[in-house]
């Protein structure tokens, strides 16, 4: 913002036509990541062992499963936005840029879906390792 017509500034529309939404969502997910990824790293490293039984038991706790699903949404949405800017800034060839943006979205949505489904499957199975 800061350029363009007065009414354009009021509406918050820049060249991306989404105004400040991208900026806001990037910050919102950043706060989510700050809390949830810190929790995840600390909790995971504090586990004495990381074998199958320990991980499945840990993941089957409702608090852990829900926090990890929320973290997955926050992280994958955050890097979808961040890498989009990265691609828009550095990939100048239009065809390559579109291809990279499609690949990014497939990776972010597909990866998040696989991660969330896996967490849910372990949690619903009850963790009888």
């Amino acid at each position: 913002m800061g350029t363009g017509t007065g009414i354009g500034r009021v509406r918050g529309l820049g060249s991306a036509k989404h105004g400040s939404l991208h900026w806001w969502q990037q910050r919102l997910t950043a706060v989510g990541n700050l809390l949830l990824v810190t929790w995840f790293v600390v909790s995971l490293l504090r586990l004495p062992v990381h074998d199958y039984a320990a991980i499945v038991t840990w993941l089957s706790s409702p608090i852990v499963a829900v926090a990890l699903i929320l973290m997955t949404v926050s992280v994958f949405y955050h890097f979808r936005l961040g890498l989009q800017v990265f691609i828009e800034d550095y990939v100048h060839d239009e065809a390559s840029r579109v291809a990279a943006l499609i690949a990014l979205n497939f990776y972010a949505v597909g990866g998040a879906a696989l991660a969330i489904f896996s967490i849910a499957k372990i949690a619903f199975a009850g963790g009888h390792a």
């Binding site: 700050l34 790293v41 199958y52 991980i55 993941l59 961040g82 990866g111 696989l114 991660a115």
Partner: protein, 120 residues
């Protein structure tokens, strides 16, 4: 300048590197003990006599320590962005001190966590 580049580089490394390992780890755990054993063999503890896994677990440790540093660096410069978003910290000296502080934080935190992990 350097910290700005590091923010993007670390963010990209985390998205692709940590993201892929995270997905593999969860999908393996959800697929059952055999799939998880494969992940565990190549990333955490190699089976005896498995030469390839012996190499990949060492590489995995290097990659994971790198990702841990990337996490702390991206986190610190991200928090710095929040401060800059408020319009504060643009004086040259303050700005430079903030940039250096993010690197000091990430290096110190990585060393502390590694020292703790290897002392267990």
């Amino acid at each position: 300048m350097l910290v700005s580049i590091l923010h993007r580089a670390c963010g990209t490394a985390l998205a692709i590197g940590a993201g892929a390992i995270f997905i593999w780890w969860l999908a393996a755990a959800a697929s059952g003990p055999d799939a998880y054993a494969t992940f565990y063999n190549y990333v955490a503890v190699p089976a005896e006599g498995d030469g390839i896994a012996a190499v990949t677990t060492v590489l995995a440790k290097i990659v994971l320590i790198g990702l841990l540093w990337s996490f702390f660096q991206h986190m610190a410069s991200g928090v710095r962005h929040f401060v800059l978003d408020t319009g504060a910290g643009y004086e040259l000296k303050t700005n430079k001190a903030g940039a250096i502080a993010t690197i000091a934080f990430s290096v110190v935190m990585t060393l502390i966590v590694c020292a703790w992990l290897f002392s267990r």
